[in-house]
Symmetry: C2
Amino acid sequence: MTEETPAVADCSRAEARRTQILDAAENCVREYGFHRASISKISRASGMGAGHIYHYFANKEAIVAAIVARELERVLTLTAEVQAADNMLEALALRTGSGVLGNLDSQAAGLKLEIVAEASRNPAIAAIVHAADSRRSAGLEETLKVLRQAHGLANDAATITAIAEVIAAMFEGLMVRAIRNPAVDRVLIARKFQQLIRAIVLG
Amino acid sequence: MTEETPAVADCSRAEARRTQILDAAENCVREYGFHRASISKISRASGMGAGHIYHYFANKEAIVAAIVARELERVLTLTAEVQAADNMLEALALRTGSGVLGNLDSQAAGLKLEIVAEASRNPAIAAIVHAADSRRSAGLEETLKVLRQAHGLANDAATITAIAEVIAAMFEGLMVRAIRNPAVDRVLIARKFQQLIRAIVLG
Protein backbone atom coordinates (compact mmCIF):
# COMPACT_ATOMS: atom_id res chain seq x y z
CA MET A 1 0.00 0.00 0.00
CA THR A 2 1.55 3.28 -1.11
CA GLU A 3 0.83 6.64 0.38
CA GLU A 4 0.86 9.79 -1.76
CA THR A 5 3.17 12.54 -0.61
CA PRO A 6 1.33 15.76 0.25
CA ALA A 7 2.67 17.43 -2.94
CA VAL A 8 1.35 14.64 -5.19
CA ALA A 9 -2.00 14.67 -3.39
CA ASP A 10 -2.18 18.45 -3.96
CA CYS A 11 -1.47 17.96 -7.65
CA SER A 12 -4.13 15.37 -8.19
CA ARG A 13 -6.61 17.41 -6.17
CA ALA A 14 -5.82 20.45 -8.33
CA GLU A 15 -6.24 18.31 -11.45
CA ALA A 16 -9.62 17.08 -10.20
CA ARG A 17 -10.75 20.66 -9.52
CA ARG A 18 -9.66 21.80 -12.98
CA THR A 19 -11.58 18.91 -14.54
CA GLN A 20 -14.63 19.81 -12.43
CA ILE A 21 -14.50 23.41 -13.72
CA LEU A 22 -13.95 22.37 -17.35
CA ASP A 23 -16.85 19.90 -17.28
CA ALA A 24 -19.15 22.57 -15.84
CA ALA A 25 -17.90 25.17 -18.34
CA GLU A 26 -18.52 22.81 -21.27
CA ASN A 27 -22.11 22.34 -20.15
CA CYS A 28 -22.62 26.08 -19.69
CA VAL A 29 -21.12 27.07 -23.06
CA ARG A 30 -23.20 24.40 -24.78
CA GLU A 31 -26.39 25.38 -22.97
CA TYR A 32 -26.11 29.18 -22.94
CA GLY A 33 -23.57 30.00 -25.64
CA PHE A 34 -20.14 31.53 -25.06
CA HIS A 35 -21.28 35.00 -23.97
CA ARG A 36 -24.01 33.99 -21.58
CA ALA A 37 -21.83 31.26 -20.03
CA SER A 38 -20.65 33.63 -17.28
CA ILE A 39 -18.13 32.75 -14.60
CA SER A 40 -21.02 32.97 -12.10
CA LYS A 41 -23.01 30.36 -14.08
CA ILE A 42 -19.90 28.14 -14.31
CA SER A 43 -19.42 28.64 -10.58
CA ARG A 44 -22.97 27.46 -9.82
CA ALA A 45 -22.70 24.52 -12.24
CA SER A 46 -19.37 23.35 -10.81
CA GLY A 47 -20.36 23.91 -7.18
CA MET A 48 -17.18 25.97 -6.70
CA GLY A 49 -16.87 29.62 -5.72
CA ALA A 50 -15.98 32.15 -8.44
CA GLY A 51 -12.79 33.06 -6.54
CA HIS A 52 -11.80 29.42 -6.60
CA ILE A 53 -12.37 29.28 -10.38
CA TYR A 54 -10.16 32.36 -10.88
CA HIS A 55 -7.47 30.57 -8.89
CA TYR A 56 -7.27 28.00 -11.73
CA PHE A 57 -8.20 30.12 -14.75
CA ALA A 58 -7.52 33.82 -15.38
CA ASN A 59 -10.69 34.30 -17.44
CA LYS A 60 -13.19 32.64 -19.77
CA GLU A 61 -10.68 32.61 -22.65
CA ALA A 62 -8.33 30.53 -20.46
CA ILE A 63 -11.17 28.09 -19.75
CA VAL A 64 -11.93 27.76 -23.47
CA ALA A 65 -8.21 27.28 -24.17
CA ALA A 66 -8.20 24.39 -21.67
CA ILE A 67 -11.36 22.87 -23.23
CA VAL A 68 -9.73 23.03 -26.67
CA ALA A 69 -6.43 21.63 -25.30
CA ARG A 70 -8.25 18.70 -23.69
CA GLU A 71 -9.94 17.81 -27.01
CA LEU A 72 -6.64 18.23 -28.89
CA GLU A 73 -4.94 15.87 -26.43
CA ARG A 74 -7.63 13.25 -27.16
CA VAL A 75 -7.16 13.57 -30.93
CA LEU A 76 -3.34 13.49 -30.71
CA THR A 77 -3.54 10.29 -28.63
CA LEU A 78 -5.68 8.69 -31.35
CA THR A 79 -3.22 9.91 -33.99
CA ALA A 80 -0.31 8.37 -32.08
CA GLU A 81 -2.22 5.09 -31.83
CA VAL A 82 -2.79 5.02 -35.61
CA GLN A 83 0.87 5.83 -36.25
CA ALA A 84 2.00 3.03 -33.89
CA ALA A 85 -0.23 0.39 -35.51
CA ASP A 86 1.26 -2.42 -37.60
CA ASN A 87 -1.33 -1.75 -40.28
CA MET A 88 -1.90 2.00 -40.28
CA LEU A 89 -4.60 1.91 -42.95
CA GLU A 90 -6.64 -0.63 -40.97
CA ALA A 91 -6.13 1.38 -37.79
CA LEU A 92 -7.27 4.55 -39.57
CA ALA A 93 -10.40 2.84 -40.93
CA LEU A 94 -11.20 1.51 -37.46
CA ARG A 95 -10.70 4.93 -35.91
CA THR A 96 -12.91 6.39 -38.66
CA GLY A 97 -15.93 4.41 -37.47
CA SER A 98 -15.72 5.61 -33.87
CA GLY A 99 -14.73 9.10 -35.04
CA VAL A 100 -17.93 9.40 -37.11
CA LEU A 101 -20.10 8.29 -34.18
CA GLY A 102 -18.31 10.73 -31.87
CA ASN A 103 -18.63 13.70 -34.23
CA LEU A 104 -22.34 12.96 -34.79
CA ASP A 105 -22.97 13.36 -31.06
CA SER A 106 -25.07 16.52 -31.08
CA GLN A 107 -24.10 17.61 -27.54
CA ALA A 108 -20.38 17.51 -28.27
CA ALA A 109 -21.01 19.06 -31.71
CA GLY A 110 -22.98 21.95 -30.22
CA LEU A 111 -20.13 22.82 -27.87
CA LYS A 112 -17.42 22.66 -30.55
CA LEU A 113 -19.44 24.68 -33.07
CA GLU A 114 -20.15 27.34 -30.47
CA ILE A 115 -16.39 27.70 -29.97
CA VAL A 116 -15.81 27.82 -33.76
CA ALA A 117 -18.55 30.45 -34.18
CA GLU A 118 -16.99 32.53 -31.39
CA ALA A 119 -13.57 32.14 -33.06
CA SER A 120 -15.02 33.74 -36.19
CA ARG A 121 -15.40 37.04 -34.32
CA ASN A 122 -13.12 36.89 -31.25
CA PRO A 123 -9.37 37.13 -31.99
CA ALA A 124 -8.36 35.56 -28.64
CA ILE A 125 -10.51 32.48 -29.26
CA ALA A 126 -9.45 32.43 -32.93
CA ALA A 127 -5.76 32.21 -31.90
CA ILE A 128 -6.52 29.25 -29.59
CA VAL A 129 -8.50 27.45 -32.30
CA HIS A 130 -5.90 28.08 -35.04
CA ALA A 131 -3.03 26.76 -32.92
CA ALA A 132 -4.92 23.59 -31.98
CA ASP A 133 -6.00 22.99 -35.58
CA SER A 134 -2.45 23.41 -36.79
CA ARG A 135 -1.14 20.77 -34.36
CA ARG A 136 -3.99 18.34 -35.14
CA SER A 137 -3.39 18.88 -38.84
CA ALA A 138 0.38 18.24 -38.54
CA GLY A 139 -0.36 14.87 -36.91
CA LEU A 140 -2.76 13.82 -39.65
CA GLU A 141 -0.40 14.99 -42.41
CA GLU A 142 2.46 13.00 -40.86
CA THR A 143 0.25 9.88 -40.82
CA LEU A 144 -0.77 10.42 -44.45
CA LYS A 145 2.83 10.95 -45.57
CA VAL A 146 4.04 7.69 -44.03
CA LEU A 147 0.99 5.78 -45.24
CA ARG A 148 1.25 6.97 -48.84
CA GLN A 149 5.00 6.42 -48.95
CA ALA A 150 4.46 2.83 -47.78
CA HIS A 151 2.07 2.39 -50.73
CA GLY A 152 4.49 4.02 -53.18
CA LEU A 153 2.17 7.00 -53.73
CA ALA A 154 2.96 10.70 -54.23
CA ASN A 155 3.40 12.40 -50.87
CA ASP A 156 4.44 15.93 -51.81
CA ALA A 157 3.18 18.75 -49.57
CA ALA A 158 0.28 19.84 -51.84
CA THR A 159 -1.08 16.29 -52.20
CA ILE A 160 -0.86 15.64 -48.47
CA THR A 161 -2.43 19.00 -47.54
CA ALA A 162 -5.32 18.49 -49.96
CA ILE A 163 -6.10 15.01 -48.61
CA ALA A 164 -5.76 16.15 -44.99
CA GLU A 165 -8.11 19.10 -45.59
CA VAL A 166 -10.73 16.90 -47.27
CA ILE A 167 -10.62 14.45 -44.36
CA ALA A 168 -10.84 17.32 -41.86
CA ALA A 169 -13.82 18.83 -43.72
CA MET A 170 -15.62 15.47 -43.87
CA PHE A 171 -15.26 14.84 -40.14
CA GLU A 172 -15.88 18.40 -38.99
CA GLY A 173 -18.91 18.60 -41.27
CA LEU A 174 -20.46 15.76 -39.28
CA MET A 175 -20.82 18.16 -36.36
CA VAL A 176 -22.97 20.42 -38.55
CA ARG A 177 -24.93 17.39 -39.78
CA ALA A 178 -25.62 16.28 -36.20
CA ILE A 179 -27.46 19.54 -35.60
CA ARG A 180 -29.01 20.20 -39.01
CA ASN A 181 -30.27 16.62 -39.32
CA PRO A 182 -30.59 15.01 -35.90
CA ALA A 183 -32.36 12.02 -37.49
CA VAL A 184 -29.20 11.08 -39.42
CA ASP A 185 -28.49 7.32 -39.43
CA ARG A 186 -25.16 7.25 -37.57
CA VAL A 187 -24.25 3.65 -38.37
CA LEU A 188 -25.01 4.08 -42.08
CA ILE A 189 -22.75 7.13 -42.23
CA ALA A 190 -19.97 5.44 -40.24
CA ARG A 191 -19.98 2.54 -42.71
CA LYS A 192 -19.91 4.91 -45.72
CA PHE A 193 -17.03 6.92 -44.23
CA GLN A 194 -15.03 3.74 -43.57
CA GLN A 195 -15.55 2.71 -47.17
CA LEU A 196 -14.47 6.13 -48.49
CA ILE A 197 -11.51 6.79 -46.21
CA ARG A 198 -9.27 4.22 -47.88
CA ALA A 199 -10.05 5.56 -51.34
CA ILE A 200 -9.36 9.14 -50.22
CA VAL A 201 -6.12 8.32 -48.39
CA LEU A 202 -4.78 6.28 -51.31
CA GLY A 203 -6.39 8.40 -54.06
CA MET B 1 -42.21 52.10 -71.50
CA THR B 2 -44.19 50.44 -68.74
CA GLU B 3 -45.24 52.05 -65.54
CA GLU B 4 -45.60 50.07 -62.35
CA THR B 5 -49.02 50.13 -60.75
CA PRO B 6 -48.93 51.52 -57.20
CA ALA B 7 -49.50 48.00 -55.79
CA VAL B 8 -46.49 46.58 -57.66
CA ALA B 9 -44.34 49.52 -56.64
CA ASP B 10 -45.36 48.88 -53.01
CA CYS B 11 -44.36 45.25 -53.36
CA SER B 12 -40.93 45.93 -54.72
CA ARG B 13 -40.38 48.64 -52.13
CA ALA B 14 -41.36 46.19 -49.39
CA GLU B 15 -39.01 43.61 -50.91
CA ALA B 16 -36.15 46.12 -50.91
CA ARG B 17 -36.82 46.98 -47.28
CA ARG B 18 -36.87 43.31 -46.26
CA THR B 19 -33.56 42.78 -48.07
CA GLN B 20 -32.11 45.84 -46.33
CA ILE B 21 -33.12 44.41 -42.93
CA LEU B 22 -31.81 40.91 -43.72
CA ASP B 23 -28.44 42.20 -44.93
CA ALA B 24 -28.06 44.27 -41.75
CA ALA B 25 -29.19 41.35 -39.57
CA GLU B 26 -26.67 39.01 -41.23
CA ASN B 27 -23.87 41.44 -40.43
CA CYS B 28 -25.04 41.86 -36.83
CA VAL B 29 -25.43 38.12 -36.14
CA ARG B 30 -22.00 37.48 -37.65
CA GLU B 31 -20.35 40.30 -35.74
CA TYR B 32 -22.06 40.02 -32.34
CA GLY B 33 -23.51 36.50 -32.26
CA PHE B 34 -27.22 35.63 -32.19
CA HIS B 35 -27.98 36.87 -28.68
CA ARG B 36 -26.19 40.19 -28.82
CA ALA B 37 -27.56 40.94 -32.30
CA SER B 38 -30.48 42.88 -30.84
CA ILE B 39 -33.27 44.46 -32.85
CA SER B 40 -31.85 47.85 -31.82
CA LYS B 41 -28.43 46.92 -33.29
CA ILE B 42 -30.13 45.66 -36.46
CA SER B 43 -32.12 48.89 -36.56
CA ARG B 44 -28.95 51.01 -36.40
CA ALA B 45 -27.16 48.83 -38.97
CA SER B 46 -30.06 48.95 -41.43
CA GLY B 47 -30.80 52.62 -40.90
CA MET B 48 -34.45 51.74 -40.23
CA GLY B 49 -36.45 52.31 -37.07
CA ALA B 50 -37.16 49.35 -34.80
CA GLY B 51 -40.92 49.83 -35.33
CA HIS B 52 -40.36 49.62 -39.07
CA ILE B 53 -38.42 46.34 -38.61
CA TYR B 54 -41.26 44.87 -36.54
CA HIS B 55 -43.59 45.78 -39.39
CA TYR B 56 -41.72 43.23 -41.55
CA PHE B 57 -40.60 40.67 -38.96
CA ALA B 58 -42.35 39.61 -35.74
CA ASN B 59 -39.08 38.89 -33.91
CA LYS B 60 -35.46 37.80 -34.29
CA GLU B 61 -36.50 34.19 -34.97
CA ALA B 62 -38.52 35.42 -37.97
CA ILE B 63 -35.45 37.30 -39.24
CA VAL B 64 -33.29 34.18 -38.89
CA ALA B 65 -36.00 32.15 -40.66
CA ALA B 66 -35.83 34.61 -43.58
CA ILE B 67 -32.01 34.47 -43.65
CA VAL B 68 -32.15 30.66 -43.76
CA ALA B 69 -34.90 30.74 -46.43
CA ARG B 70 -32.85 33.09 -48.61
CA GLU B 71 -29.85 30.73 -48.46
CA LEU B 72 -32.10 27.71 -49.13
CA GLU B 73 -33.54 29.47 -52.18
CA ARG B 74 -30.00 29.97 -53.52
CA VAL B 75 -29.12 26.30 -53.01
CA LEU B 76 -32.38 25.05 -54.54
CA THR B 77 -31.77 27.21 -57.62
CA LEU B 78 -28.34 25.62 -58.03
CA THR B 79 -29.88 22.17 -57.56
CA ALA B 80 -32.47 22.91 -60.26
CA GLU B 81 -29.68 24.07 -62.59
CA VAL B 82 -27.77 20.80 -62.08
CA GLN B 83 -30.95 18.77 -62.64
CA ALA B 84 -31.71 20.65 -65.87
CA ALA B 85 -28.21 20.16 -67.31
CA ASP B 86 -27.61 17.82 -70.25
CA ASN B 87 -24.67 16.30 -68.41
CA MET B 88 -25.66 16.30 -64.73
CA LEU B 89 -22.32 14.89 -63.53
CA GLU B 90 -20.37 17.62 -65.32
CA ALA B 91 -22.76 20.24 -63.96
CA LEU B 92 -22.35 18.87 -60.44
CA ALA B 93 -18.54 18.91 -60.71
CA LEU B 94 -18.65 22.49 -61.99
CA ARG B 95 -20.97 23.54 -59.15
CA THR B 96 -18.62 21.77 -56.73
CA GLY B 97 -15.76 24.13 -57.57
CA SER B 98 -17.75 27.31 -56.88
CA GLY B 99 -19.47 25.65 -53.89
CA VAL B 100 -16.11 24.96 -52.25
CA LEU B 101 -14.95 28.54 -52.75
CA GLY B 102 -18.26 29.85 -51.38
CA ASN B 103 -18.23 27.62 -48.29
CA LEU B 104 -14.62 28.56 -47.55
CA ASP B 105 -15.63 32.23 -47.30
CA SER B 106 -15.05 32.84 -43.60
CA GLN B 107 -17.59 35.66 -43.31
CA ALA B 108 -20.44 33.57 -44.71
CA ALA B 109 -19.22 30.56 -42.72
CA GLY B 110 -19.21 32.52 -39.45
CA LEU B 111 -22.84 33.53 -39.97
CA LYS B 112 -24.05 30.03 -40.84
CA LEU B 113 -22.17 28.37 -37.99
CA GLU B 114 -23.56 30.91 -35.54
CA ILE B 115 -27.07 29.89 -36.65
CA VAL B 116 -26.20 26.17 -36.38
CA ALA B 117 -24.73 26.68 -32.90
CA GLU B 118 -27.88 28.54 -31.83
CA ALA B 119 -30.00 25.72 -33.31
CA SER B 120 -28.21 23.30 -30.97
CA ARG B 121 -29.86 24.98 -27.97
CA ASN B 122 -32.87 26.94 -29.27
CA PRO B 123 -35.85 24.82 -30.38
CA ALA B 124 -37.36 27.61 -32.53
CA ILE B 125 -34.12 28.03 -34.51
CA ALA B 126 -33.64 24.25 -34.60
CA ALA B 127 -37.05 23.81 -36.27
CA ILE B 128 -36.16 26.38 -38.96
CA VAL B 129 -32.78 24.76 -39.60
CA HIS B 130 -34.17 21.20 -39.72
CA ALA B 131 -36.90 22.13 -42.22
CA ALA B 132 -34.44 23.89 -44.53
CA ASP B 133 -31.96 21.03 -44.32
CA SER B 134 -34.65 18.53 -45.13
CA ARG B 135 -35.65 20.43 -48.30
CA ARG B 136 -32.03 20.91 -49.40
CA SER B 137 -31.37 17.25 -48.76
CA ALA B 138 -34.42 16.12 -50.79
CA GLY B 139 -33.12 18.10 -53.78
CA LEU B 140 -29.67 16.54 -53.60
CA GLU B 141 -31.08 13.03 -53.13
CA GLU B 142 -33.31 13.47 -56.18
CA THR B 143 -30.27 14.54 -58.23
CA LEU B 144 -28.24 11.56 -57.00
CA LYS B 145 -31.07 9.12 -57.74
CA VAL B 146 -31.42 10.25 -61.35
CA LEU B 147 -27.66 10.42 -61.85
CA ARG B 148 -26.99 6.94 -60.49
CA GLN B 149 -29.91 5.43 -62.40
CA ALA B 150 -28.52 6.92 -65.62
CA HIS B 151 -25.22 5.13 -64.85
CA GLY B 152 -26.99 1.86 -64.00
CA LEU B 153 -25.94 2.06 -60.33
CA ALA B 154 -27.85 1.10 -57.16
CA ASN B 155 -30.13 3.92 -56.08
CA ASP B 156 -32.00 2.48 -53.13
CA ALA B 157 -32.86 4.83 -50.27
CA ALA B 158 -29.98 3.80 -47.97
CA THR B 159 -27.35 4.19 -50.69
CA ILE B 160 -28.68 7.58 -51.75
CA THR B 161 -28.98 8.85 -48.16
CA ALA B 162 -25.43 7.76 -47.32
CA ILE B 163 -23.96 9.50 -50.38
CA ALA B 164 -26.04 12.64 -49.80
CA GLU B 165 -24.96 12.82 -46.15
CA VAL B 166 -21.28 12.40 -47.03
CA ILE B 167 -21.52 15.18 -49.61
CA ALA B 168 -23.36 17.41 -47.13
CA ALA B 169 -20.73 16.73 -44.43
CA MET B 170 -17.87 17.49 -46.86
CA PHE B 171 -19.33 20.82 -47.93
CA GLU B 172 -20.57 21.92 -44.53
CA GLY B 173 -17.25 20.97 -42.98
CA LEU B 174 -15.60 23.55 -45.23
CA MET B 175 -17.30 26.25 -43.15
CA VAL B 176 -15.52 24.91 -40.07
CA ARG B 177 -12.24 24.70 -42.00
CA ALA B 178 -12.58 28.33 -43.13
CA ILE B 179 -12.49 29.40 -39.48
CA ARG B 180 -10.16 26.82 -37.96
CA ASN B 181 -7.61 27.20 -40.76
CA PRO B 182 -8.00 30.59 -42.45
CA ALA B 183 -4.77 29.97 -44.40
CA VAL B 184 -6.36 27.03 -46.25
CA ASP B 185 -5.52 26.95 -49.99
CA ARG B 186 -9.00 27.41 -51.48
CA VAL B 187 -8.09 26.53 -55.06
CA LEU B 188 -6.23 23.37 -54.03
CA ILE B 189 -9.25 22.20 -52.04
CA ALA B 190 -11.71 23.06 -54.83
CA ARG B 191 -9.67 20.95 -57.25
CA LYS B 192 -9.50 18.02 -54.81
CA PHE B 193 -13.26 18.18 -54.18
CA GLN B 194 -13.98 18.20 -57.91
CA GLN B 195 -11.80 15.13 -58.33
CA LEU B 196 -13.53 13.31 -55.45
CA ILE B 197 -17.14 14.25 -56.16
CA ARG B 198 -17.42 11.99 -59.23
CA ALA B 199 -15.98 9.03 -57.33
CA ILE B 200 -18.35 9.60 -54.41
CA VAL B 201 -21.46 10.09 -56.56
CA LEU B 202 -20.71 7.00 -58.65
CA GLY B 203 -19.13 4.96 -55.83
